[in-house]
């Protein structure tokens, strides 16, 4: 089932400057694998050493944050749109 992936500008160097890509996959993990097969190195940018999605990265499925769904195991269906969005936060304060 093809799923549309929206790639943020900062990651488009990895996807040959493509901002939207269609990939087959039944859940978020599978489509990231699919992206990595097509664009080697993509997966490494998405997961940390423990195999979790990096905390700087938000993934939305049809405008819903996967953290409130089933995480990287969130099931996908034909026509779903997956958006990879950078976490944008900071500030001069210390912890």
């Amino acid at each position: 089932m093809p799923v549309k992936i929206r790639i943020p500008t900062a990651l488009q160097k990895l996807t040959q400057n493509e901002g939207e890509v269609e990939v087959q996959g039944g859940d978020v993990n599978e489509i990231i694998d699919g992206m990595d097969q097509r664009f080697p190195g993509f997966k490494e940018r998405m997961y940390d050493d423990s195999g979790e999605i990096r905390r700087f990265i938000n993934i939305y499925v049809n405008d819903e944050d996967i953290r409130f769904l089933d995480g990287s195991k969130t099931a996908l269906k034909d026509g779903d749109e997956v958006s990879i969005i950078p976490a944008i936060a900071g500030g001069h304060g210390v912890e």
Partner: protein
């Protein structure tokens, strides 16, 4: 890397920083990148809501959905989101440890910091620096 910030964008960032003082403000940098990303033209600075209301005095956070909405609106215009700006009230316009951690996660973006000195003189003073992650180091551009 060569970065140009339009006078309009600069004015908008300073205005936003001054208006939100003593809290941190934040927003998007919109424009065009050329020459393989070596030449950046920031045309507009668009304000975003700071979601971190509890620590707005020293932290900012921009909604991912705001990013998505803006990116959608820029489709087909030839312009994109080149990075983000935020302010440091009464603090230098240099990335903090927190900023460095966040910037490090997203090389390829430009980060502009507006330092606002609201205590030294009657009128607020502004310093603006732009940063980019190059070769694993943040550099002033």
């Amino acid at each position: 890397m060569k970065i140009d910030i339009s006078p309009r964008a600069l004015r908008a960032m300073k205005r936003h920083a001054g208006r939100d003082y003593p809290h941190e403000c934040c927003g998007f940098l919109v424009g065009r990148a050329g020459r393989g990303g070596r030449r950046i033209a920031i045309e507009e600075a668009l304000p975003a809501e700071n979601l971190n209301r509890e620590r707005a005095h020293d932290r900012y956070e921009i909604s991912p959905l705001a990013y998505l909405g803006l990116e959608e609106s820029l489709k087909g215009t030839g312009r994109g989101i080149l990075g983000y700006y935020h302010s440091h009230p009464d603090h230098p316009s240099r990335p903090s440890e927190t900023d460095l951690t966040m910037f490090g996660g997203w090389p390829g973006y430009i980060y502009v910091i507006v330092g606002v000195d609201g205590k030294t003189a009657k009128a607020k003073r502004y310093t603006v620096t732009a940063w980019s992650l190059e070769e694993h180091e943040l550099v002033s551009v």
